[in-house]
Symmetry: C2
């Protein structure tokens, strides 16, 4: 396993690899969990060379968000990636990625107006920009993204299509703990009591899936039931519960087309998100 | 000479060419003149394969600008490019470049606030976006841009650097008619009288160069002299005369560092620009 620390070295290696190898890429912010490792296994399965980046992207954090306390443990990450037979870890410095005077941004208009984009101003501008940059550094044939960050996945898919980036985005289903909690590096912030509260999120999603299965198509009814589950213990602050079109992310009133249920909550200081595709087509 | 009309075909050919050939690229909006052909010769000199795109980019025109009357003559362009031993003409349709639902933009902040950016809202957003897309389609090792569109050149250089695009921007000096007028596809709009008026632009640049050579470093003095020349016949409407830092494009008061003199004028309905680097370093 190669550890590459500079943009220049990554780019020149990628250029020569791309001549006769398929490059699979998993961009991460590190502090890896089983969810990330599932993406890495997918990349390995599809590619000749699996590249995993570890980069906590400063420009996707708002001024009041958790950039400085975002969990980091490179040695642990490297050991996990070694076990998964990762070929290359790419871990550039922030000053190499965003040198003095940096001022160019990739904006995917429309999709950023919904869900998390409404409260996290500039977040998806930072995400799209860093992913565009990482793609130019790693030159992958495909990149694997978790469905857990659903809006991010949709924005990256649209950016790739709109800007004619010559690569395939491979979505991967959300990986969950045994008790249902969606895996996230931020779960590490949770106290045991908060961890218990957080289980209501996946429970509310199962409730919505059940209602949909029973034939409920009225969005207000399902959202109301979801909110009821989320509020049942009193420790969760709901940021949004939204049933939206699964591609445009526009809010729906009736479910008659591809639909996603997306949830964002706070448990103590920790912000958690989760989602499920209620209707596939 | 190959003529390629779809994004898909261009991209897959570029991918296979890039394995063992250096690709040189000249993006144009067609209606080629000697200025463009000089860029093509430069690309041929540096590359194994010279690709020239012809695409009148709708999103870089403002609502009151000349998109619909922008001059087009594909057969003439193709004959000129054939003579220059161009390998590939890439001429995609607007609907292939910007399909329904398109909404992603590349913004180079800062540089767009000056010179033409002040009056042509959204112009450089459209330029940066289409050039980013064309680079993803043509996958060049380098791309040649004329210095005549100085602000565009600086914005593209910054975009390439900021987004880590793995290619080199090669600037090319402005090519002029024998009488000094900077070559432009828009010169074709000029009546004989307007053509005569337009000569004041290059004359005013020569005046500024002379003043600088004589030791003048006060920006207001040089700009004043330039404006005097431009106003001497009464047929030009000056949009701006600006001596700016040659990299940041910020307005200067004294010339003590890299400096560019840039001019935009209207002659009748036609907008013309020109520039010169007054101080190199």
């Amino acid at each position: 396993m190669k550890i590459i620390k500079t943009v220049k070295e990554m780019q020149s290696l990628a250029e020569s690899l791309r001549r006769d190898k398929r490059i699979g890429f998993v961009p991460t912010m590190g502090y890896l969990h089983e969810g990330h490792l599932a993406l890495v296994r997918k990349a390995r399965e599809l590619a000749d060379v699996a590249v995993v980046s570890i980069f906590v992207n400063p420009i996707q954090f708002g001024p009041t968000e958790d950039l400085s306390r975002y969990p980091r443990d490179f040695d642990r990450d490297a050991a996990l990636l070694e076990k998964e037979k990762t070929d290359i870890i790419f871990c550039p410095e922030a000053g190499d990625v965003y040198p003095e005077g940096y001022s160019t941004y990739v904006e995917v208009k429309g999709l950023e107006d919904y869900l998390c984009g409404r409260t996290r101003a500039g977040h998806f501008l930072g995400v799209a920009t860093v992913v565009a940059k990482l793609f130019n550094m790693v030159k992958p044939h495909f990149a694997v993204f978790g469905q857990k960050d659903y809006q991010q996945l949709k924005i990256i898919e649209k950016m790739v299509r709109d800007l004619n980036m010559d690569l395939t985005i491979v979505p991967h289903p959300t990986v969950r703990e045994n008790d249902g909690l969606a895996m996230s590096s931020r779960n590490t912030y949770l106290s045991p009591e908060e961890r218990e509260e957080a289980l209501l999120i996946s429970a509310s999603i199962r409730r919505a899936e059940q209602l949909f299965k029973e034939g409920e198509r009225n969005v207000a009814v399902i959202e109301g039931e979801v909110a009821k589950v989320l509020g049942s213990k009193g420790g969760l602050t709901v940021e949004y519960v939204s049933i939206s079109h699964a591609d445009t992310l526009e809010a729906l009133e009736k479910i008659a087309d591809r639909a996603v249920l997306a949830i964002a909550c706070r448990v103590g200081k920790t912000r958690l998100i989760d989602n499920t595709i209620l209707m596939e087509a």
